[in-house]
Amino acid sequence: MTLIRAQGLTKTYVTGEVEVPAVKGVDFTINAKSFVAFVGPSGSGKSTLLNMIGCLDHPTGGRLSVLDTDVSTLNRRSAANFRGQHIGFVFQDFNLIPILTVYENVEYPLIMVQDWPEQTRRKQVMRLLDAVGMSAQAGKRPDQISGGQKQRVAVARALATNAQLVLADEPTANLDHDTAYRVIELMKKMRDELGTTFVFSTHDPKIMGEAEVVYTLEDGKLRAPSLKSEAAHA
């Protein structure tokens, strides 16, 4: 089943007189329950692409459908609604809310984005904290846990609303190598357990090796996708 389909997808930033083509007509599809990485040098358009998939930014050309919805035409409010219903986000710098506990950070989207009743909320948060191995730290504030632990909490938060798709722009850039590796492993484990599609971007070759599908961006254009099995044969 195809979850994301891009055809001739283009994004050109216009700042004053200057036009910066960031994504130059890319085509790709991403299947449900896959574990996909976008890689490429700095400025190649990874963030731009992920922002468009995440309905945070509009394409300037081409077609983009996510979960059978043409997201290129969504207005502000519908885009926010769409994100709240279907997409989870993991950020490079964790973005946990400092005044909330680990538990409350995971609970946050269930209150602010979706209105879950107290009982089911509690179950969901406990289940996810358990799954990411952070139950013991549930009562701690973000400044009392390590970077790797923060990103584990962030993964739990992204999964709280049972999103079908989790987008992570450079989720490991602020982590040391071993920790980064373990966070990616965690994401993969969650994909296996929950069937959630994960799409992330990275610089790190070791990390990208963990992906099942790797799209390489170069100056806004896509090189042919490499499946892990193919890469192994090459």
Partner: protein, 415 residues
Amino acid sequence: MLNLLKIAVRNLARFRRRTLLTSTLITLGIVAVLLFIATAGSFKAMMISQFTDAVLGHLEVHRKGYVASIDTLPLNLNMQPQMVKKIEQVLGSMDEVEAYSERVKLGAMFSNFTETASIRINGIDPQKEIAATPLLPGRIIDGSKEGAVLKPGEILIPTLLARGMKVKVGDTIVLVATNRDGSVNAKTFLVRAIMESITGPSGRDGYIHIDDARTLLRMAQPEISEIAIRLKDPAQLEQAYAKLNQELSGMLNKENKPVLEVHTWASLSPFSNIANMIDVLTVFIKIMLVSIVLISVMNVMVMAVYERIREIGMISAIGTPPRRILSLFLTEGLVLGVGGTALGTVISLAVIYALNIWKIKFNFGQQQGLLLSPAISAADIAIIAGTVVLIALLASLQPAWKASRMDPVKALGHV
């Protein structure tokens, strides 16, 4: 259970010093305003009652044009007995009226047999006068306050004359008055008492019995110069004034013009300007409070939004509806406003309570040892607290709106 209120409180608690500073500012502002209203209100009410309860009454009725030439106390602008009867009927029918006193006023020469000075005389019925202006006996500073304040043949004179002409209680003096027909008449009086004057040291008002006044003026009929009216409740002033005016405007002369005029104490006393000034000052200090709250809350909220741009980017990215982001910050401003207001109100009430226990006394003009009893109505508190909370909300509106409209990508990239 996590909710907007809890998040707001925690965010405020995170910058404890800033929150404390701002809420202290609001608290102090509230305390200043409430205390000012309570004490100024008490002061004003007391001053007003000094005038209304000692001299003026709350309302006065005169012949049309009398007040315009009140300096000369004209005798040709008195009210005739049948007019007075009609007025009495109207007053008798008004529930608001507690008492009224008819006066004959005249200008006279006051002589101690060696010197003369001018004096303004009020001819009164002592019983009626005390009912209409109950503080009158309290103004006697030398002489007996016992029994009737005044009997026929006696005079109450102001301190000014007593001092200037060395007249003592028990002395005999002469009043000389020009009658309406131009003739002159004189009568001797026994000085019953000396009284302090309300209108300051220049007060030249003396009191004699109304029958003596009529004899002195050789009145053919029992005419009246003015009627001073005391109301049961001073708060009903405007209402009673309108009613009386309405009733009396029906009395017309041959040219079909009203023959009578009604005045409130305020239009007869210069103190009403001071009272108005207190009101203006109250408005001014309220504006100050509003500005303080507006600026300080806005400042904090602008800072709060600025510091949390990335957090706003995150919550917006994960799909939080803009309305909820708006309420998130509005709640924070609201908590700040409500906290400061609640504390300020409690402190104010405590101070007002303390002031009433300590019994603060002060002097005003010649009035000594007036007791300040500050008080504030629940309505006043509600209005001021409500305004402050509303202003706090209003001050948060712009920053909160800005937060709710933020572009998530730009906000997330903010450093």
